[in-house]
Subunit: 354 residues, 2 copies
Amino acid sequence: MASKRQLPARKQHARVTISDVAREARVSPMTVSRVINDDARVRQSTRDAVNAAIRDLGYLPNKAARSLASASQVQIGMLYDNPSSSYLSAMLLGVLEQARRSDTQIVVVECENEADGMRCIRNMVKTGIDGILLSPPLADAEAVLALLKETGVQCVTIGTRRDEPNVSSVAIDDFAAARLMTEHIIRLGHRRIGFIKGSPDQLATPQRLAGYREALANAGIDYDSELVVDGRFSYRSGLAAAEELLALPDRPTAIFASNDDMAAATVATAHRHHVDIPRDLTVCGFDDTLLATTIWPEITTIHQPITAMSQAAIDLLEKRIRAVRSGQEEPRTSITLDFRFVQRASDAPPGGYR
Amino acid sequence: MASKRQLPARKQHARVTISDVAREARVSPMTVSRVINDDARVRQSTRDAVNAAIRDLGYLPNKAARSLASASQVQIGMLYDNPSSSYLSAMLLGVLEQARRSDTQIVVVECENEADGMRCIRNMVKTGIDGILLSPPLADAEAVLALLKETGVQCVTIGTRRDEPNVSSVAIDDFAAARLMTEHIIRLGHRRIGFIKGSPDQLATPQRLAGYREALANAGIDYDSELVVDGRFSYRSGLAAAEELLALPDRPTAIFASNDDMAAATVATAHRHHVDIPRDLTVCGFDDTLLATTIWPEITTIHQPITAMSQAAIDLLEKRIRAVRSGQEEPRTSITLDFRFVQRASDAPPGGYR
DNA sequence: TTTGCCCTTGGTAGCGTTAACATCGCATCC
DNA sequence: GGATGCGATGTTAACGCTACCAAGGGCAAA
């Protein structure tokens, strides 16, 4: 590799710049800038010429210059606690992708609990963060939200529907999703359907339960509190919950767990009892984390578009931050994305016991 | 929020800049720049004064300006295939953190298989990527590596030790780790130790097996090929492998699976056979993914510092890219990080059968 | 004492882009 | 017909930082 010391200045790398494109298209750099920023006031013919030049030269805008000139850089902190790994990785993917598109710096911090979360937020605010992204269970911690309101930092939560002054949220409709899943199980022919609840400190928990009850009521099935047991979203809590349900004298023919971890635990417990799935017991989960397809049989579940959710969350956060910066009222929008019912191999009509 | 239209120019945000620090410390901006870049030629007393000013003002360098001025921006593509979610999230965390520190843009792409991976690489090269980060199994695909060599793009692999012209790697010593784990099992008193292999197309597979054999040989235990069964790193393959081992007339008292997914499957299979863990059977895994602590009992395993590995990988990649850019020979370093033996609840001395 | 060199610091000129304002031509209106 | 306005484009001056070169000062060698 020859040295290039004879070059006049620092330039070694020489990518195509906006001026090159401008020269090629016989316009000013400003016009090129307008084209790449989708500014409306450029004549179509000019726009076409510029685009052609961009393509010919293989021009790629320089991010650094862009965000320097437009002072558009945004710093967003993402806090996470519950490292349900697949949830986390899906979120990270979305966040990374979105950050790449805009000029956003993301700082990801794990915190152990609510108190730690508050400490992290204080630190971040001190370093001048513009916004914060929260996922459950932190997104449901009142103290955390109160602190956020106090500091005035913009915030978006994922997976928990909120509607407050400076907190927007991106989530699915947990109620409708749980109802749909329960309806599916009823349609298979089940009447005794067990339900494993999630942690009481998360907003999704009562919503999913309500969806289950609604479907039952609509189908004319009496609610039996014996069939509804506590869980904490963890595998281990699912083990105990499933054990409880399977020990019932008239045991359920189907179990709907509030998340996949507990559904997986139910599958394991059933196997230990030599209860075949799905022949003797239908097991359904929620979230469609990778665990749902890791174990065998693969679990019928509700898919949350987590990557898309985190992308939407970052986008929303940026919009709010920009709005505040330019002195506008922050938009008070929350987004509800569509979930998807995913049928796999863990459900079947009842009848194994006969 | 009052509008600020009376301001002379575009400035709304007014963060502390390098000039503010310079004024505060009564030096030139250049000297401040030297301090924050650890340039050696600054007198200690000056350095201290500048650092004090930085602290007082809460100065944070502007990334965009920095990378614009130094033309240092680097684009790195990260390809992943095997979405063992916890592996992925750990990697992403490391990558994000490292990217934040330096001026590196990361593009993360999932690809389904080898062919798809090659397509992705070609695309990225076309858009002017500077380097590529590969994890298994893509990191073990010869065709992919050949393509990389052909295009001359810098590359670092994670989890697979490589030593080739333009490919460095960051990994742990799989051989030593597997040997250590096997030694641990032997020390517990086991003599019949089952082993579940990984996918044949990954380099780690033979290395882990070799570690197992070495420990056996050192302890004077004959190698019994009956105890070594095939797996493919997936939960489902682990189910079959465990079934095979547990069906043996003289079945093993311990099983060492080449990763946690298969160890978890072994636990599930054992439970189905009413074999208690760890009383009747010791099960050990490898990788320390979140699955290891999700299930019950939690699995004794080998911890790979994946987040640190991906950080090191990005760092290495950047160094190589900068070296090439400035016309130097690319450094041909690979890094081996330390693994950690993690004892949990899935192992015990033999004796349950007596 | 002078010369030369190194150590430390400062000045200048960009890096590639965009905000803000200026300009130009042309159609519209009274 | 000249004022008015608007749509399309150009000009200028940053954005905050660092590469490069120059310069001052101290010290050792001549």
